[in-house]
């Protein structure tokens, strides 16, 4: 089954709609949560929503660039998770809280 058949079966807009909804959910999570780890997870959700868009467009346009972009996004997400979680560990060790409002080291 070629990509044309698959995309013809599910319209491109459906993927974009799901991607937009997931992106909005991720943004809401970033705005509402006060646990820095959950905020981090919400950012990951937003990146995944964008990945869906990239792959859907790539498949619809018969281009592999979309999939290649997603490979790089996943790579950067892995690096970001490693460094970000290390920063969170260092912060929590310095001051045992996960509330970003209480992380005001730079103000002092």
């Amino acid at each position: 089954m070629t990509s044309s058949d698959m995309v013809a079966q599910v319209p491109l807009e459906w993927y974009l709609l799901v991607s937009g909804i997931l992106f909005a959910i991720g943004m809401t999570g970033v705005l509402t949560r006060r646990n820095v780890l959950v905020i981090f997870m919400s950012v990951e959700l937003m990146m995944n929503a964008v990945n869906i868009t990239l792959v859907a467009f790539g498949t619809a346009l018969n281009s592999l660039a979309g999939q290649a972009f997603v490979v790089f996004v996943v790579t950067v997400a892995a690096a970001e998770a490693a460094v970000g979680l290390a920063i969170i560990m260092a912060l929590v060790r310095h001051k045992p809280t996960v509330d970003p409002a209480e992380m005001e080291l730079m103000k002092e």
Binding site: V10, V18, R33, N35, L64, M89
Partner: protein, 295 residues
């Protein structure tokens, strides 16, 4: 059946699979951002990521589906869970204890963004009936057959992408190889070679940065400097170490003094016998109060 204003008489199997995967992903995403326990949030995020892997399969990108499960669900989320467990952060701050305004305003803002994205996509894709002014409508065809070839097949193009440097894959070959990891690999190593190398460098920097940031700086206790031997832990009964410790405590070893010292300074730790006077030890001031069974 009506989705997004578009009426579909009979949903195909792919559409049913898509709808199920998307519905579960959206519900799990909402669960993720509303759970109090960070571990529950992480597990709901795993559910979302698995649904997205299913969508990748539906999009004829099996390599990305495997990548999604291995890297995202397998590595990144396990890293999250490690940090949550390691720092014992399960009981996070309650939702909206302090930031009432943020809590109240965030949901309408998020809903507004979702509605806006949906409307934009619906308008742009022609799902919406009202006609747009000329020049505004951005038609995205649903059928890829209608898309003109982004890269026309160059004359004399061979069977490999190497004959088409910088121009992307010929459409015919993409259609032929799409879905195979081999095509994506060739694409990554030809047209995306520099980004690929930069990505590997980013990973290297991230590894170094994570190690530097997460390493715990252990302060050296001052008591270690005195080369004393702590008898607090004792030894297994009957072992040579236990016999040696017994000799020391009985004062049978010449030149070795047993003192009671509080290693933790002002900490309320009970004092315990401490052996000094070993070779290499600095001479201890006589003011050190000797205690215990000393010769």
């Amino acid at each position: 059946m009506s989705v997004g204003g578009m009426t579909i008489p009979i949903p195909s199997i792919a559409e049913v699979v898509f709808l199920v995967l998307s519905a579960v992903a959206i519900v799990a995403g909402l669960m993720m951002i509303t759970r109090q326990d960070a571990v529950h949030s992480a597990l709901w995020l795993v559910v979302v990521l698995f649904q997205l892997a299913g969508l990748y399969v539906l999009l004829n990108a099996p390599f990305l589906a495997v990548l999604q499960v291995l890297v995202y669900a397998g590595a990144i989320l396990v890293l999250f869970l490690f940090v949550i467990m390691l720092l014992q952060l399960r009981e996070g701050p309650q939702l909206g204890n302090v930031h009432q305004i943020q809590r109240v305003a965030a949901w309408p803002i998020g809903a507004l963004l979702a509605v806006e994205l949906v409307i934009v996509i619906a308008l742009a894709s022609g799902l919406h009936a009202p006609a747009l002014p000329a020049g505004v409508a951005m038609h995205v065809p649903t059928a890829p057959q209608a898309v003109p070839a982004a890269t026309p097949l160059p004359a004399g193009s061979g069977s490999t992408a190497f004959n088409n440097p910088g121009g992307g894959w010929p459409v015919e070959e993409v259609a032929l190889y799409n879905g195979e990891p081999r095509a994506l690999g060739i694409e990554l190593y030809t047209n995306f070679l520099w980004p690929f190398e930069i990505a590997s460098f980013i990973l290297l920097v991230a590894v170094i940065g994570a190690i530097v940031l997460a390493r715990r700086e252990e302060p050296i206790p001052a008591e270690v400097e005195t080369r004393g031997i702590s008898l607090a832990r004792g030894a297994y009964p009957g072992s040579p170490q236990a016999a040696e410790i017994g000799k020391v405590l009985a004062g049978q070893v010449p030149g070795v003094h047993v003192v009671q010292r509080d290693l933790a300074g002002d900490a309320p730790a009970p004092p315990f016998p401490h052996v000094t006077g070993l070779p290499g030890d600095a001479p201890r001031p006589p003011a050190d109060p000797p205690a215990g069974p000393q010769a």
